[in-house]
């Protein structure tokens, strides 16, 4: 696991989170999409589409079910980009 301050991928994902971060939550690897950002299913769908397009990947609903925190998303994107 990388220190998030120096991880460029974390920074990129954080950038994608901001337009959806209505509550202005401080985003760390531990931030939970549901509990901290309080995203509903529609917001999640829009956000996932944005991430998919930015990194030219597909995050299936099956994978999404396993991703709860920003850190887990960073790891998943790392893996998907190969």
């Amino acid at each position: 696991m990388t220190d998030h301050a120096s991880d460029p991928l974390f920074a990129e994902i954080k950038e994608e989170i901001e337009p959806f971060n209505a509550k202005g939550v401080e985003v760390t690897r531990e931030t939970s999409f549901q509990k901290d950002l309080e995203w509903d299913s529609l917001t999640v769908m829009d956000f996932v589409a944005a991430i998919e397009d930015r990194f030219d990947i597909i995050i299936t609903m099956n994978m999404q079910a396993e991703i709860e925190t920003v850190g887990q998303l960073v790891d998943a994107v790392t893996k998907l980009r190969g």
């Binding site: 509903d40 529609l42 589409a49 998919e52 030219d56 597909i58 299936t60 609903m61």
Partner: protein, 399 residues
Amino acid sequence: MTDLFSKFDALIQQRETLLSTGQRDPFSLVMEEVKSPTVAVVNGKETILLGTYNYMGMTFDPDVIAAGKKALDDFGTGTTGSRVLNGTYQGHRECEDALKEFYGFDHAMVFSTGYQANLGIISTIAGKDDYVLLDIDSHASIYDGCAMGNAQIVPFRHNDIEALEKRLKRLPEEAGKLVILEGVYSMLGDVAPLKEMVRISKEAGAMVLVDEAHSMGFIGEHGRGVAEEQGVMDDVDFIIGTFSKSVGTVGGFCVSNHPKFEVMRLVCRPYVFTASLPPSVVATAATSIRKLMHGSEKRAHLWENSRKLHAGLKALGFTIGTDEPQSAIIAVIMPDLEGGAKMWESLLNEGLYVNLARPPATPANMTLLRCSLCAEHTSEQVDEILGMFERAGKATGII
């Protein structure tokens, strides 16, 4: 002990808050009498029905009723068994023959409901390493079909051709792919760009399933649906439909030209492990489907009704889900659930029933008053409906 029902507390609370204001419960209405496809008695009051899926008004067709009565007399009340055991009667075969003729497809399979048709076909044909791509506004039966199977599920933005194309291109070339689309999306009544979406799906080597539940009988020259209207019938691998809308009874089906389609009868669990439809139901369905083949005048009148209601509501100042009428569903967008529920009740007091639709069934957390027209609504009834909307809209401050 953990009460397993505690997860529903928020919903129970929301409902109680709403009802505590004296609001009538929109989700427990009872039709005491049904006089025709367009009129029922609710709370002792004669009410125009504008929230059914009885698009072609077949529920009281004399030929359809006669066929049902005869089957009830000749074959009894029910089959008490699965389609693959003792539950296939002459009527089930005749119903499948009527569907093959209606769509001009080689194979037809009748399920006990439309929900089960989607559940069964999707969960069975898409396996573990296959990909299912679906529009995010897909019906619950499509999502549940995905959840019941174990394929990789890829949603894409509603009616977004580019979003679908990008995702198809990101998938492994050799993987099995199924693209699921709907002809008419039932919440806003908008139509899919099937022509483009089917083309890019086929180019990517995907099979295509189109749910035509809300277009059968009405859209397309022969009422085959949006795929017919947009000229892509030959490229659609599976059409899913229901008998509970234009056909006017209950049941579901899948038609296909796939040469191996009949194997579905052995491997599709929601087909095998449930009782088949009662003989009277398949007899009414078969008769209704055959009559729908010749329903062009009714189709024309239903379009007239849809255009008139859409234009009239727009002129009154209501916000409609689509700029132009695209189907027999006209969705009136409400400011919020409270406003929508008030307007719904006000319309009911006027003598008009519409559907109150709310999240999570609706897109973008909208509250909708969903109006669905019937070919049996007269032009005068549509005028009456517009008058009711005007009075209720002003009384509740929506317009």
